[in-house]
Symmetry: C2
């Protein structure tokens, strides 16, 4: 019975995600689902991306948090098309929450949507939101063992971003170990190393985004 | 119906947690449930604590991860009484998992057990494991907005540890903002600021632990 319930929830979510996907396709919008631990730099990466390509691509953002409008306020300083979802305790976004958010965006004005998921390296990856690509953002200060300890999110993501590389010199993070463990889980995945704070490596990231669109 | 299921799960967990608590009490063992985001420093804090007070207090550790024995191997270099729980995907420990782990520890040889929960700032706090104290560990690199964005874990913890304070000088973390937001959620809670890497502030932490035992 428990398994049936889980199956039903995921089947329902998949159906809702497919509906979202149809809407995105119809409006020619490319959608990225950004996944990470709390504080790995999802919001900073979105802001840096808007600064870099906001003149060429019309960007919208769906912000997922269990509480507060802290992140959406930050992003509203840069763009208008921002919707905050407060999950009220739920540890991940689901496709129905995103469907409601879509209704509040001016889709005809957008080329790209970044969905900033709740900060959670486990539960978020199980829920298709209708996105084109899942991007996991890991950060140097979390340590090089995250692929080893949280495999599913590295297996199921289409890109791995390693943020905060300016911290490499004051940390014992082993870049080779991290990359090797990622590749063991997901041999074809690209890893982009960058620092939002220091402005390093961002061109490779925005080139990847542009290339997909 | 959905609510009934959630209630049943939490009621069952509470009963199992009460059983664990009885066993801990009977054996005069003090139990700390350590909660944090991935990579905030739970394992490092446990190792530093063993180094500081392992000669005075007999310490056991229950390690929770969704996969790997990475952390338990690290700790086994210091002590023998270590049990790894792999949740197989579940995003938090529950009392039944801990009950099984208890069976593998030599309780009569222990004064303190640290339970290192799965790295997750949301789901872990909802499940009583039978512990005496919940300790949330936040770290400078995650940013000063974590209390704002993840309130429940700060509300329900008995102590807040801010780790990686050696990073304060290379970060825009505002200590006053962080402390103020924690106190708004949990006015009486103590905040201990430390760095496992730099060995700063650890005496205040071990004094707190010893004081409880």
């Amino acid at each position: 019975m428990k398994i049936d319930i889980v199956k039903n929830v995921l089947k329902y979510n998949k159906d809702e995600a497919d509906k979202n996907r149809k809407i995105f396709k119809k409006n020619n919008i490319l959608v990225f689902n950004l996944l990470s631990s709390p504080g790995a730099g999802k919001t900073s990466l979105i802001i840096k991306t808007i600064e870099k390509i906001g003149d060429r691509k019309r960007i919208g953002v769906i912000e997922g948090d269990i509480a507060s409008t802290h992140d959406s306020k930050k992003i509203k300083k840069y763009i208008n098309n921002v919707v905050q979802i407060n999950t009220g305790g739920t540890c991940h976004l689901n496709a129905s929450m995103v469907a409601k958010a879509i209704g509040k965006l001016k889709l005809e004005e957008l080329d790209i949507i970044f969905i900033e998921n709740v900060g959670n390296l486990i539960c978020t990856v199980g829920f298709d939101l209708g996105e084109d690509f899942k991007v996991v953002i890991s950060s140097v200060n979390e340590g090089d063992d995250k692929p080893l300890k949280y495999p599913p999110i590295f297996i199921k993501s289409n890109l791995v971003v390693l943020n905060k590389i300016d911290m490499l010199e004051v940390s014992d993070f082993n870049s080779n170990f991290f990359s090797r463990k990622v590749k063991e889980l997901n041999p074809e995945v690209k890893i982009i190393k960058l620092s939002c704070l220091a402005g390093k490596g961002l061109n490779e990231w925005v080139d990847w985004v542009i290339d997909k669109s």
